[in-house]
């Protein structure tokens, strides 16, 4: 008998005998309460905003929504966001693998410090990160002055946005990989070395196949986050319409100008991109369930 049914004798009589229930299973009443809580939480926090985004976008009909996405500035914002994501994603995949490799396959001093450093982007406000980039590379700084003089501006230009995005999304891949690589240990790599394989061969025939799923997850999460990044990009981009305004920045500007349909159409498109990444992840999970299980067992 669980606590819940002791407190409510009525429920105990109607419920199945306690011995028929798995020890880990809750009483029907508790289960219903948990389900209600989860569903209402999801409804308020996830579904409602999603529905609002799409209804607002389509307030004046499909034609108006699509037309608002067709103008030059909107097109430029979409292209910019996709470009930034396409640059940030592989960069962070490579950084993430390197960091996870270093942390899990080698022993060195200051390892704990490095792990903290990897988590830093999660705890630092993106706006602060953006400000740091401006201070470091802005026209008034030593490096920034030199870069501008050589026609390589970082702040208020695409390199700055890439830098900000890479910083904010850095932990995703490493965080996914570290536990997986820790659990797998070094034995397979060592075995490959004793069989005569070079370091590079070991990496792409043993290490990489063993982490491919975690890597994919991390990269997809990183992608979804990179497309939506606002705070850091808002600071470093200078919000130049048609040049450095990404999709989230454009959404904010349109909204502030009371261009509700245009703002929400762009928001709907951005949401669509994010949903697409999630869909891709789920599809891959379903399709390769066996391989996933094999990777976790053993």
């Amino acid at each position: 008998m669980s606590d819940a049914s002791l407190h409510r004798p009525g429920a105990a009589r109607s419920a199945r005998p306690a011995s028929y229930r798995k020890p880990t299973e809750e009483t029907p009443a508790a289960r219903t309460a948990l389900i209600l809580l989860t569903v209402s939480g999801l409804a308020i926090l996830v579904f409602a905003p999603l529905i609002v985004v799409f209804t607002e976008a389509l307030a004046d009909g499909w034609a108006a929504a699509i037309e608002s996405l067709g103008n030059r500035d909107a097109q430029s914002a979409i292209r910019l966001t996709l470009t930034i994501t396409a640059i940030a994603m592989p960069l962070n995949a490579v950084f993430g693998i390197a960091a996870a490799w270093l942390i899990t396959k080698f022993d060195f001093r200051g390892k704990a410090f490095l792990i903290t450093l990897i988590d830093l982007p999660f705890s630092v406000s993106p706006v602060v990160a953006g400000l740091c980039i401006v201070l470091l590379f802005g026209a008034n700084s030593l490096i920034g002055g030199w870069l501008v003089a050589h026609d390589l501006p970082i702040v208020f230009a695409i390199p700055g946005i890439v830098l900000a995005t890479v910083f904010v999304t850095f932990p995703f891949v490493a965080r996914e990989l570290i536990p997986v690589m820790t659990e797998q240990g070094r034995a397979e790599e060592e075995a490959a070395l004793t069989l005569g394989a070079s370091g590079w061969r070991v990496f792409h025939t043993v290490t990489l196949p063993n982490i491919r799923w975690a890597l994919l997850y991390g990269t997809l999460l990183c992608t979804a986050r990179a497309m939506g990044e606002f705070g850091a990009v808002a600071v470093v981009s200078g919000k130049i319409r048609g040049q450095t305004a990404t999709m989230p920045i454009t959404i904010e500007m349109l909204y502030n100008e009371y261009l509700s349909v245009a703002a929400f159409s762009m928001a709907a498109l951005l949401t669509g991109f994010a949903l697409l990444t999630l869909l891709l992840k789920t599809a891959l999970e379903l399709r390769h369930a066996d391989a996933l299980a094999a990777n976790h067992r053993h």
Partner: protein, 239 residues
């Protein structure tokens, strides 16, 4: 190939895993490193295989200094305690790995690799499991696949870390004989680690008893049993 270990010591930070140890292994011998947990058996084996480098001392293969040889250059067939089979590859690909990893000039062609893998599968008496994945094998089968994978590279010596550690008593007995047979057939100098004295006594030509990073005694099984050199060996063997 004969192996000479000359005053090898190993420190991990401040802790000493091996005090200077010296050991000569004649070519073709089957040697057991026997000792309690933490006595430095694995450390010594890994130094032989090139997976760990000694703090001081030298390793000689056939009289030539091999201390600086990389793990790949050692060409030691290494069987790991947990087998460390490549989990995403079939048994066939596991065994073929070392041959496929060779530089192009000395890499056998595809059919030759397949022929050798098939031969090794026959040798370990598991001719039909080439298409399976490691998770689809029993512990004893995994152990034999690990042995076949190590043999595939035509190693100069065979190093095994507790090869029967994770198996039940009956399978252990069978595989013991299997290792003895393979050793006799290939004539490879073989070093295996164990903390099971029966295993060491029954299987090895030469038993090396270790304790706390030191070698307590080197001798034939009979010598160790009848003439223990130290109080530790006497206690350990009679236990």
């Amino acid at each position: 190939m004969d192996i000479h270990i000359d005053e090898i010591s190993k420190e991990f930070g401040v802790s000493r895993a091996l005090h200077p140890v010296t050991l000569s292994i004649p070519s073709g011998t089957l040697v057991a490193l026997l000792g309690p947990s933490g006595s430095g058996k694995t450390t010594l084996l890994r130094i032989l295989g090139g997976l760990e480098f000694p703090t001081s001392g030298r390793v000689l293969f056939d009289g030539r200094d091999a201390t600086g040889l990389s793990v790949q250059e050692r060409r030691a067939g290494f069987v790991f305690q947990s087998y460390a089979l490549f989990r995403h590859m079939t048994v066939f690909d596991n065994i073929a790995y070392g041959l496929a990893a060779r530089p192009r000039a000395i890499r056998p062609n595809r059919t030759e690799i397949a022929r050798r893998v098939t031969k090794l599968l026959d040798l370990i008496q598991l001719p039909d499991i080439g298409g399976r994945y490691p998770t689809q094998l029993s512990g004893g089968q995994r152990q034999r696949v690990a042995l076949a994978r190590a043999l595939a590279i035509e190693p100069r010596m065979l190093l095994l870390d507790e090869p029967f550690g994770a198996l039940d008593a009956k399978v252990r007995k069978e595989l013991r004989q299997g290792l003895r047979d393979i050793h006799d057939e290939t004539g490879l100098t073989t070093v295996f680690v164990t903390h099971d004295q029966d295993e060491a006594m029954e299987l090895a030509d030469l038993v090396v008893v270790m304790s706390m990073g030191r070698i307590e005694q080197i001798g034939r099984p009979l010598d160790i049993r009848e003439r223990p050199a130290t109080a530790f060996v006497r206690n350990f063997v009679s236990a």
